[in-house]
Symmetry: C2
Subunit: 367 residues, 2 copies
């Protein structure tokens, strides 16, 4: 049966095998079978984050995961320097504030990546800052921020480094331990290839030490990662998490990760590169122009200006109505002029890119 | 294909129609189609809670919902009297503490329901208490606490009334507005008949006023119900929640609720009564005895002592291995002696009860 094909920056189009598992009879979130699935998923995520640290699978959205990470890592009143070059940078700032931390914002234009040197400058001037926070892939613009360079600045100043990798993990290279990232958050419905419902929190050694050493009380039961670790330590043989888990989402995610790792992270990245190149060349042929130079974008998400006189919302709508393909438009001031196309996850292939380009060509020629 | 049939107190066995929807291609958590599904689900939940208040569907477990409710309703330092006659009463106490509230615990034995008069006495002696918190159905023992009477005490003293209805909602009568409950939490994977992944928070008028009037800052982004309401007010026409939602879980839940309301809440309760009676008579015939008198239990969950000399864990295990039926054992000191059998949701029928009883009879006769 035909359905609306998702080519948005998450939730992603799901592989048939993932869907099959999502529709299987319900299973409990405890016991041997579950433990096996949960442990395997955690182990695969550890490989994908490229960390030897702790991994927590938490029911919720990416924002839930960011909230739990920030809540646990930073205490109220602590100063954190945070990058902001788009909607999700602003959200990360908001999450810091909501948890009582004091964000010191480095604000740059939406078409400009964050600059590690700016973090360096702020840290040099503010010794009371305890950490850095930044979004890796800014989904609102497709701009990839230099997480490796930003982490290096954190290491140089011996500050905590927190990276929002919700949209980037498994879509582009991210080496948590090697780059010196202390805490990192992702979500099931992006490049990991699962359905929405699980946040993933990775905590490195320094990150965990900071959480263990904090003296300020947590102000939540479900966001407190010390509690999550308590269940790993004490209920680890049957129920290694505090509450009920979205089992169907986890079983689907496990399959998506198995497919990803069987293919290989490197091979997946290369596939994304090919898809991105094919897509971007095609878009430019039709008269769109990239939102930022290609080297500033991730290979899993493309933002492009519509040809002059063509409304982004109109394009998005017609693609959905006439071709059953779902892309999305830009954020805020770019809403009318920019479209965003995602091809994260295992389901989208070259022929999907070609089909999309054909559809765009047809719509634009008739407008 | 045969599978392990769930007769535990959640997650529940899912109806075939619910599973079918869970396995459908992924959809975005925004836009017209989604809004329709989300709004319909919220409206159905309002009918089930029997409230004209606000309903928030939040990604997470029941505990996430409890945490968000407590976080938003009670400020750090506020005194709350909380009932505790089992594992989930203790958890509710823990959630209050984790959020900085000061719980005043009314502790009674696990085989005894909470007594509204005890809340009355504590409130008479402590005018600085701001609210009451209690679990409706204590899942660990199947004991149903008198939510209506407890709420009446809250009303009498003009205090906030918070009820954990995670296991009870749609499994037994609960009339939020009529009984004077200010805030109530449920979860998708219990008697509502969906898969795990969504908490449901219902807030009545007084509850919402208390949240609006609080002056203490929230200490979380994702648990702050004012933020959730902001998205309803400002993004209500396309994305009425702050983050990504577990769409597959919601579509499944919507179907389960449609089935429930087509059947009718009253009819469902009557069905549960019949199933419970059939089950309990059968259990007693085989030599088990009810954990508490039948009138103290909900009709969706039965706890019973095993016959002398029979180990609960052994029964649970053999039912799973030999008959592919999943029940569970008691908590803590009852782990070896008590079994718990759930038949929440739309999928379990009389023949499932009979099949379970036959299996139990056979296992016990051979032990």
């Amino acid at each position: 049966m035909s359905h609306l094909k998702l080519m948005i920056p998450g939730p992603v189009e799901l592989e048939a095998e993932v869907l099959e598992l999502m529709g299987k009879p319900n299973v409990p979130h405890y016991g041997d079978e579950w433990l096996k699935a949960h442990t395997e998923t955690v182990d695969m995520l550890r490989r994908i984050f490229q960390t030897s640290g702790k991994i927590f699978l938490m029911p919720g959205s990416g924002s839930t995961g960011l909230d739990a990470a920030v809540h646990s890592l930073f205490s109220p009143g602590e100063h954190v320097v945070v990058g902001n070059n788009g909607f999700f940078g602003a959200r990360l700032t908001e999450i810091l504030e909501a948890n009582g931390a004091i964000p010191i914002s480095i604000h740059v234009d939406a078409d400009t990546p964050l600059d590690a040197a700016a973090f360096d400058a702020v840290l040099r001037g503010n010794p009371n800052i305890v950490g850095i926070a930044a979004v890796h892939l800014e989904t609102s613009t497709a701009v990839l921020n230099p997480a490796q360079e930003i982490a290096a600045i954190a290491r140089k100043h011996d500050k905590l480094c927190f990276i929002d990798a919700v949209a980037s993990l498994a879509g582009t290279d991210l080496r948590m331990d090697e780059w010196g990232i202390d805490m990192c958050v992702a979500a099931s419905q992006k490049a990991l290839g699962g359905a929405a419902g699980l946040a993933v929190i990775a905590v490195g050694e320094r990150g965990w030490q900071a959480i263990e050493n904090r003296t300020a009380p947590m102000r939540s039961w479900s966001l407190d990662l010390k509690r999550w670790q308590w269940y790993v330590d004490n209920w680890g043989d049957w129920h290694p998490h505090p509450g009920t888990m979205p089992t169907a989402v986890l079983y689907g995610l496990r399959k998506a990760l198995q497919n990803l790792l069987n293919e290989g992270l490197e091979a997946r990245f290369q596939k994304y590169d090919l898809l991105a190149r094919r897509l971007r060349e095609g878009l430019m042929e039709i008269g769109l122009s990239l939102f930022v130079p290609e080297e500033l974008m991730t290979p899993v998400l493309t933002a492009a200006y519509c040809p002059p006189g063509i409304n982004a919302g109109q394009l998005v709508k017609q693609l959905e109505t006439d071709f059953q393909i779902k892309i999305t438009s830009g954020f805020q001031q770019y809403k009318e002029r920019v479209i965003r196309i995602g091809h994260m996850g295992g389901a989208i292939t070259e022929s999907d890119i070609d089909e999309l380009l054909d559809a765009l060509r047809q719509i634009i020629s008739e407008l």
